[in-house]
């Protein structure tokens, strides 16, 4: 057994030095203890590594995700909430305050614990039995432990490490998705609030028209038909406003949830309008190459695949003998006869399953299939990432062109139509209702322009996420890509 122990001890380099003295004694238990003490929990559960993965991502607004909210971070949240909340501030708040971040880091910590667990020696088993035959008493004591567990410990520790790396990538994706979701929610909430303003104006225009129509009918200038038509327009405008108001509430609540806010903090204010469009499109080069290089889900699938490939070797090695227990036995027999003689037997016991029936083909086959599966997932994520990069880039350009068209063409034209209608009204060439109708139409066009601007900023977030983070489709695709159950070491 010493060679095994030695090999185990030869594992992590920092353990080799500290265990030098004990090594001479070559005590298996001692070695196990040292080993167990060596694979310790990382103090931050991998948070720093996650932050290193996402730190430079433009979605992060230069902020760091907070594992556990502290007093300082809460103060910063309050400070950010005191002003109209811009997109960057919203992301900052979400990253220090959202339960989703804390959830992601807790999950990472669990993974860290699993890693430490996997690198720990199995505990030895102490058996004790007392047998009586007539006056004869026999005490049997056995200290045994799982040799295979010991033998495979280095591998298991390595896979756990690999799994933890994958978990870090996953946590990083969670953080980025939260940042992206927050940005998108912010964009939706601000635009919905903006829409309400313009639809309220549209309703006011309809209200003025209906009121004048009412007065027209009152003095006998208009029929019930004409008056009723104007009232109908008002009813329609009011319904449109009600829908917009509900959308504003819903989108704001969505943002509030992502920010993890409650209590008095939900009274935050949003800016009046979305940020202006960028002056030009960014120079990105080959967006597919970018996505394949930088996306965390691609890297995660690749790491997963490496781990599965590793596990394939172990499965092959342990396919025949997958359990072996060795025990030291000390049996003491008390004759309890006249001379009260007692005898002690010492020896060892080895449990070894005979590979008569299970030659391990099933396990090997399973592991190989898992490898194929994981390789397929790498390709899948690659195809997804490249396709999403193309789609998101195209989406960015289309929504940018559309929003610009509204800004530079449609809205100025609409304004011109309104001005001309005022001139026609002035010349008694058009009625006040035509003027109000034009105003209403104008508000609806402004609203369409806001929606175009909103869609642009959503596409902008999608593009950043698709190129650097993960699938903008959400965690579902991500989970499918990385869900590979960690290879069950040895199959038991």
């Amino acid at each position: 057994m010493n060679p095994f122990v030695r090999r185990q001890l030869a594992g992590p380099p920092h353990c080799r030095r500290s265990s030098g003295a004990l090594f001479k004694r070559a005590a298996a238990f001692g070695g196990a203890l040292v080993l167990a003490g060596c694979a310790s929990l990382s103090p931050d559960g991998g948070t720093a590594d996650v932050q290193a993965l996402v730190g430079n991502n433009p979605l992060m607004a230069g902020t760091t995700a907070q594992r556990v909210p502290d007093e300082a971070s809460q103060k910063s949240v309050d400070a950010l909430l005191a002003k109209p909340l811009d997109a960057e501030s919203a992301v900052r708040i979400a990253l220090v305050n959202s339960p989703r971040v804390q959830d992601a880091f807790a999950t990472l910590q669990i993974s860290d614990a699993d890693r430490v667990q996997a690198a720990s020696l199995p505990n030895p088993v102490l058996s004790f039995s007392r047998l009586a035959q007539g006056r004869e008493r026999e005490f049997e004591r056995m200290l045994s432990f799982n040799v295979i567990g010991l033998v495979t410990l280095p591998w298991q520790a390595r896979w756990a490490g690999q799994r933890h790396e994958a978990a870090k990538l996953q946590a990083a994706q969670s953080v980025l998705l939260l940042a992206a979701d927050t940005r998108r929610a912010w964009v939706r909430a601000v635009s919905a609030q903006q829409s309400v303003v313009y639809l309220r104006d549209a309703k006011d225009a309809a209200e003025a028209g209906a009121e004048l129509a009412h007065r027209m009918a009152q003095v006998g200038n208009w029929s019930a038909l004409q008056r009723t038509r104007e009232q109908l327009l008002l009813a329609d405008a009011a319904a449109q406003l009600a829908r917009a108001e509900q959308t504003a509430v819903a989108t704001r609540e969505q943002l509030t949830r992502l920010l993890g806010l409650g209590g008095e903090r939900i009274g935050y204010t949003l800016p009046d309008r979305l940020p202006p469009l960028p002056k030009s499109a960014p120079e990105l080069g080959d967006v597919q190459a970018l996505a394949l290089r930088d996306r965390l889900d691609v890297r995660s699938a690749q790491a997963q695949n490496t781990a599965v490939a590793d596990s394939l070797g172990l499965t092959r090695a342990t396919s025949v003998i997958n359990a072996m227990e060795i025990g030291a036995v000390r049996n003491t027999t008390f004759e309890n006869d006249a001379d009260r003689s007692r005898s002690t037997k010492r020896g060892f016991e080895l449990d070894l399953p005979l590979p008569l029936f299970d030659w391990g083909q099933a396990r090997t086959g399973r592991a190989e299939a898992q490898y194929m599966q994981s390789a397929a997932r790498v390709r899948d994520v690659g195809v997804l990432a490249a396709s999403e990069a193309r789609e998101a880039w195209q989406g960015w350009n289309t929504s940018y062109a559309l929003a610009r068209r509204y800004r530079d063409e449609v809205l100025p034209l609409r304004k011109k139509v309104n001005e001309e209608m005022v001139l026609r009204y002035n010349g008694m060439l058009a009625s006040v209702w035509e003027l109000l109708g034009e105003t209403r139409a104008s508000m609806l066009v402004v609203n369409a322009g806001i929606e175009a601007q909103r869609d642009f900023w959503l596409a902008d977030t999608d593009l950043q996420l698709a190129l650097t983070g993960s699938s903008p489709g959400g965690m579902t695709a991500l989970q499918t890509a990385t869900a590979g159950d960690a290879p069950a070491a040895g199959g038991h």
């Binding site: 006011d204 003025a208 004048l212 003095v219 006998g220 001309e420 010349g427 008694m428 060439l429 058009a430």
Partner: protein, 459 residues
């Protein structure tokens, strides 16, 4: 009101004749006109003498006498007609303007008219009302081939009867007339005529209608009834020159109607007789005095009277809509509708919004609010006492004792003798009328309100 120098136009016309390029050719050099001013009467330089007419905001086409034949040259072409100062319309016309120049000849004259087509499509000229060989009648496809773009045709006939005539295309007629192609023709009597009296002032103009979308400049050729520009010689008030006469003058006004509706032409302060129609002089026994004469579609009328009442007398079509600029015919009546409370709401959305029409439309004549480019106000013009609130087919007959014979200059506003202007009765003010009468349904209050228009709430 726009006052023009009557002689400016003639100068331009003469200047144009000097730039001769085809004078050596068989065609007479076309004379062009760039001015919209009323040209002075063109005294005939040759041929039989006659007493020339004055074409309101127009001119008479000079001719070339060629071996005893009067030769005219009309050029059908796109023109930009200034219908009133600042209001320019893309029309089709003749020799630089719409309407085309007046052609004046004398009964018995042999007349040869060259017509050059510079339009993008073919045309013809129909000599409305003339007795002439059928092949000279100018009906495209029926009596002659069309004149293709770029070609010159010649018409030749003898002016057989004296009277008032018109000319206009008879090819794609609806479009070409909607675009302004028309002109006047006068055949003067060759000697004294028992039914045609000599007059001191002889004016002529054509009635026209156009549909020019406010803010645009080209007539809508497919409009049938809903026109918005009503003109005398393709001019609208206040762009129409006044008819300036000397007190005691015998005045003849010849009017031809090339619109698609009738126009009751009405003169203030005088009774006239219709002395001639498109069919010639009216027998004396068939004449009667009146102050309005309906000029039906395609008709011509000559009104004659002695201008013996001094003053500025309105001369206009009596259809009220025809003395208006463009207006929204669908704009509902706002009279009586108090906009209090609503106006602020509208101004929030439309900052330039002004309440109009709640007391009537007279506001419109006084307010000078911006309206679409190249658009006549619905009512406009100003006189010595305030806004005229007019447009379209409206001008003035100015009768003055000191207007010199042969002087057509605008004498300015009439100076009324003391005590001859309507005036306010002092000390007789009443409170203004209520904004609106009680609703018809509210009959119990009607009596009281009618008897007490002061609107005192004591019923």
């Amino acid at each position: 009101m726009n006052r023009r120098n009557f002689f400016a136009g003639a100068a331009t016309a003469v200047a144009a004749t000097t730039a001769s390029r085809v004078s050596m050719a068989a065609l007479p050099e076309p004379v062009m006109q760039s001015s919209t001013a009323t040209a002075p009467p063109l005294a005939p330089p040759n041929g039989r003498p006659y007493n020339p007419v004055v074409t309101l905001n127009g001119w008479t086409l000079p001719w070339r006498m060629n071996a005893g034949v009067k030769e005219f040259h009309l050029v059908a072409e796109p023109v930009v007609r200034e219908m009133a100062p600042g209001f320019k319309v893309n029309m089709w016309g003749y020799n630089g303007q719409s309407p085309g120049p007046t052609i004046e000849v004398v009964e018995g004259d042999r007349v040869r008219i060259y017509v050059t087509n510079k339009l993008p499509e073919h045309t013809t000229v129909h000599w409305h009302g003339q007795r002439l060989p059928n092949g000279m009648d100018g009906v495209g496809g029926i009596t002659q081939p069309h004149i293709p773009p770029g070609k010159t045709f010649v018409y030749e006939f003898t002016a057989r009867r004296p009277g008032t005539f018109m000319y206009h295309p008879h090819a794609d007629e609806m479009v070409q007339m909607a675009m302004g192609m028309m002109g006047f023709w006068i055949t003067h009597p060759k000697e004294s005529h028992p039914l045609i009296e000599p007059v001191q002032r002889d004016f002529c103009f054509l009635l026209g209608s156009f549909d020019v979308e406010p803010g645009s400049a080209t007539p809508k050729v497919n409009t049938m009834t809903d026109f918005n520009i009503w003109s005398f010689n393709s001019r609208v008030f206040p762009g129409i020159d006044t008819l300036n006469v000397r007190k005691g003058d015998r005045v003849r006004i010849r009017v031809g109607n090339l619109t698609m509706t009738n126009h009751p032409i009405h003169i203030h302060g005088h009774e006239f007789e219709v002395t001639g129609t498109d069919g010639g002089p009216v027998p004396r026994t068939a004449r009667w005095p009146e102050v309005s004469v309906d000029v039906a579609v395609g008709q011509m009328r000559q009104m004659e009277f002695i201008a013996d009442e001094e003053g500025d007398w309105s001369l206009h079509c009596h259809k009220a809509h025809h003395t208006m600029g463009p207006m929204g015919h669908e704009v509902p009546t706002m009279i009586g509708v108090d906009q209090k409370g609503v106006v602020d709401k509208i101004r929030k959305l439309v900052p330039d919004y002004m309440v109009m029409g709640d007391k009537g439309m007279a506001d419109m004549g006084e307010m000078e609010m911006p309206i679409p480019d190249n658009t006549m106000p619905m009512m406009t013009g100003a006189g010595p006492f305030g806004s005229a609130e007019m447009g379209g087919m409206f001008t003035l007959l100015k009768v003055r004792r000191d207007q010199k014979p042969g002087d057509y200059k605008d004498p300015g506003w009439f100076k009324h003798p003391a005590g001859t202007v309507a005036r306010e009765v002092p000390g007789a003010s009443v409170p203004p009328a209520p904004r609106n009468a009680p609703s018809p349904g509210n009959s119990s209050n009607t009596d009281a309100t009618v008897r007490k228009p002061s609107g005192a709430h004591n019923h």
